[in-house]
Amino acid sequence: MSETGMVKRPLESDDMIIDSLDQQQRISLNTLLSRPSEFGNETGPLACGEFDPSISLQLKKVLVVGAGGLGCEILKDLALSSIPLNVHVIDLDTIDVTNLNRQFLFRQKDVGKSKAETAAAFIQQRCPWIQVTPHVGKIQEKNLDFYRQFDVVISGLDNIEARRWLNATIVGLVDTDDDGDIDPSTIIPIVDGGTEGFSGQARLILPKITSCFECTIDSFPPPRAFPLCTIAETPRRPEHCIAYAYILQFPREFPDTVLDKDSPEHLQWIYQQAAKRAEHYGITGVTYMMTMGVVKNIIPAVASTNAIIAAACVNEAIKYLTFFSQNMNSYMMYMGAQSIHSHTFAYEPSEDCPVCSASVRKMTVPASITLNQFIQAHLKDSSLRMSSPSLVSPSQTLYMAKPAALELATRPNLDKLLSTLIQPGEEITVTDPTLHGIHVGLAITFEN
């Protein structure tokens, strides 16, 4: 829930209008909030509220997830939106020199420091009218009450698993009463942005109303690894030689050392081994830069794309918080390498989304399947992409991945036939760390 109460407005530049042509100050967004519009939020394709130019704004609370390429831009955009905001930012990472080409709240002297703390301090200093509270740590370490306090969440995460967790958590906060009606006061929108090179996307997720992140995970296929036989026996490209050095050779030669992908020494070793292998096979093209790229799965990144996507995200957030204009419905794609192609469309929710749809998934499986085979084939390696699921039925606990004592106690069930563990017509409930707080219902039928 948001705090009520007024906050002192920042210096209002159009309070002092200078007559001469070249010195007249431009109006700010603040003035637009008091001017009626034919395009208020209620007129849009995704109506969230009604614009009333006569009411003054109350303080809103915003959570920014990630203080990197998108996060720095998002914080700046929020600070310069001239509406009263209390901002929190969370990031577990520290600053690296390769961040400096775009994460502009950081300087050379900040390398090694916390991103969240450094970003918050910089914004506070440049924009003293706004409050920014940093949190150093994983999003998974915060409880539901932490997330409940925000009016909107803006996410600039750089990996799918974290997005899935955040999405499941926020969507999970929506209360539905026994009649199936949603309590709108429990809806917290997520504005989610992502970039890669000259491309990116910005989307508005209204939990239980628009598609959520989980609805669309098929459009983010898991990264394709090179086949092991190619790496081990028939390398052809320089990338294969690098993969061999870090996947096979390194663990063999240093069985007691965990590979540190940020260690220059480890990367140098991998590069040299890869270069030797390449030379042996007559393959050219292995470079240190390519080595880093393959081992760390580096995605090219520039300031301009991050600026565009972050600003589009904050634009949607501000429109949601003030209703002063329409919200987009609901997904904008942007491709800027060959001319510019941008496409905004309503991404339909997936009917059987485990996170935002209430439906029970129907599955048909062979009668001979064991619990463990079921977990591997139908929960982990399937479109559900779960990481370590736990299963219960109304009559018993089938398998608990955690805590250790329960895991040990339920482990014997893994080798039993699934058909012996479920009564006919029983619905199984599955939970998974990736889909925090979500209970997925399964109705299983056995063939023959």
Partner: protein
């Protein structure tokens, strides 16, 4: 070998692109939010140096501009320059405060930089006479220019440049250049020596059989097909299906032979000839000496090689043994080198043409195109060409919600600029903003007619009047991102710049590229 702070962007434009950035001076006229955001996104990646030109200003608008603060003893130009320089110690910045205001007549861009070749000008939120004065100077002096505007919830980015031959579009080629319909001699020879007979195939071990690269499979099936089809290749859909079936029949254990599956997937390469180059179009209207040298050399190549372009030389990964793949790749690389040498030998005239340029010409021959932005569009009195009118007429428009179409918002923006030309101020800047709507509608009607468009909707003008040229940071940041992205393309000569306008409608979060 230590981590380079530019690592993540070098993976997009390489050392050559980075060097071009480092050799460029960006001149920003007006340190508005859109202007400083554009410049920020060029300082961060390491542009060589920059110059900020602005009015003296009593009160700064620091609440929408990250590079200004509320102090009043420094000019806006100086303040912005100092904050921008903080972003990157590699970059030097300078500033010029024009007291008395930036007006067209007092403005002489040429004075400011002697070496015009390496300059790019950004004109931020400049009103029509100033914008036009800058554009004219840049056009006459062959300096690329980008005009950027943030106007309420509408953003506009327009580029103006002399005609550019796009040598390095960085197209992600989905069609590999394998030449299977017209094998070069070395490829043909390798095929005939190793894979042209049934007996050879039959003699391969099962491991060897599954590791023959698919181009040889396709050449073999193609050879057989020609023998039984009077030298012809599959043309109809049925024939192509049959051709693919022949590939499957040839396999011993198709489900486990990835090379044969890849052969089926890529079967079209065996009967689809490579793209041609419209060299006449490329040569027409070419005025630059360097481009003429390159294109004429390409023309000679095409004439000597039956219209077939130089071999690209890069092949995709495919199921094969190491030796087979490396040898096959070598064939293509050697041919590419031969073709490069031929083209280079034919580059007569301008000796400043570099090997890198010739390489790009050869590798991108089928994708080559010109970027003709034309001069920056004006407003009152503007007469667009027939091509522009035709293009716009064919533009995509949203049927259900026409107001979402970015094109209409450019028209609204253009109407506001024309309003300025008539009234010496923007509509809606005063509290009684609705009073300006009727006169703005007149300007809207004029611009609509000039562009040959029709939309009966007064809401857009009402909203533009409501905006009153408001500076909304988020919109400034979007166009600042787009403008800097386009600037990087122009500076590095890589990727494909827009022709010539990007419009962002921040109401619907929809953008569009239009040629005005």
């Amino acid at each position: 070998m230590t981590d380079n702070k530019y690592d993540r962007q070098l993976r997009l434009w390489g050392a050559a692109g980075q060097a071009a950035l480092g050799n460029t001076c960006v001149v920003l006229v007006r340190a508005t939010a859109a202007g400083t955001e554009t410049l920020k996104n060029l300082v961060l990646p390491g542009v060589g140096n920059f110059l900020v030109i602005d009015d003296s200003s009593g009160v700064s608008d620091c609440t929408s501009n990250f590079f200004l603060d509320s102090s009043t003893h420094k000019s806006r130009a100086q303040m912005a320059t100092e904050y921008l320089m903080e972003l990157n110690p590699d970059v030097t910045g300078d500033w010029k405060d024009i007291s008395g205001g930036l007006v067209a007549e007092k403005f002489d861009l040429l004075q400011l930089f002697p070496d015009k070749k390496k300059v790019l000008v950004i004109a931020a939120d400049c009103e029509p006479p100033l914008r036009q004065a800058i554009a004219q100077t840049c056009w006459d002096q062959n300096v690329p220019m980008i005009a950027v505007h943030s106007y309420g919830l509408v953003g506009v980015v327009q580029i103006q440049t002399a005609p550019l031959l796009l040598l390095d579009p960085k197209m992600r080629d989905s069609v590999p250049d394998l030449r299977l319909t017209c094998p070069f001699p070395a490829l043909q020879q390798a095929f005939e020596e190793n894979y042209a007979d049934d007996a050879v195939w039959a003699g391969l071990s099962s491991q060897e059989f599954g590791q023959v690269p698919y181009p040889f499979i396709l050449l073999f099936v193609q050879k057989k097909w020609k023998e039984s089809h009077a030298g012809g290749l599959p043309t109809s859909f049925a024939e192509k299906q049959e051709f693919q079936a022949e590939i499957k029949k040839m396999a011993r254990n198709y489900d486990n032979e990835l090379n044969f599956q890849q052969a089926v997937e890529n079967a079209y390469l065996a009967y689809t000839p490579p793209k041609t180059v419209d060299i006449d179009y490329l040569l027409s209207d070419c005025n630059s000496e360097r481009d003429l040298v390159l294109l004429r050399a390409l023309q000679s190549f095409l004439q000597q090689h039956g219209g077939v372009p130089p071999v690209v030389g890069k092949i995709p990964d495919m199921a094969a043994s190491t030796a087979e793949y490396v040898n096959l790749q070598e064939l293509y690389q050697q041919q590419a080198k031969k073709d490069f040498d031929y083209v280079r030998a034919n580059c007569t005239g301008d000796t400043s043409v570099t090997n890198d340029e010739i390489t790009l010409l050869c590798q991108n021959a089928v994708h080559l195109d010109w970027l003709q932005t034309g001069p920056l569009p004006t407003f009152m009195g503007y007469h667009p060409t027939e091509d522009v009118v035709d293009d716009l007429g064919a533009s995509e428009q949203d049927e259900e919600r026409p107001e979402q179409t970015a094109l209409w918002w450019y028209l609204g923006f253009a109407a506001c600029q024309m309003f300025w030309e008539r009234e010496q101020r923007y509509p809606g800047v005063n509290d009684d903003f609705e009073k300006d709507v009727p006169r703005l509608l007149e300007c809207w009607e004029y611009m609509k007619t000039a562009y040959g468009l029709s939309l009966e909707d007064t809401r857009i003008c009402k909203e533009m009047a409501r905006f009153g040229n408001a500076e909304v940071h988020n919109i400034a940041s979007v166009v600042g991102g787009v403008a800097s992205q386009e600037a990087v393309k122009l500076i590095t000569g890589q990727y494909i710049p827009i022709k010539n306008t990007y419009v962002f409608n921040g109401i619907a979060s929809m953008g569009g590229v239009y040629h005005f």
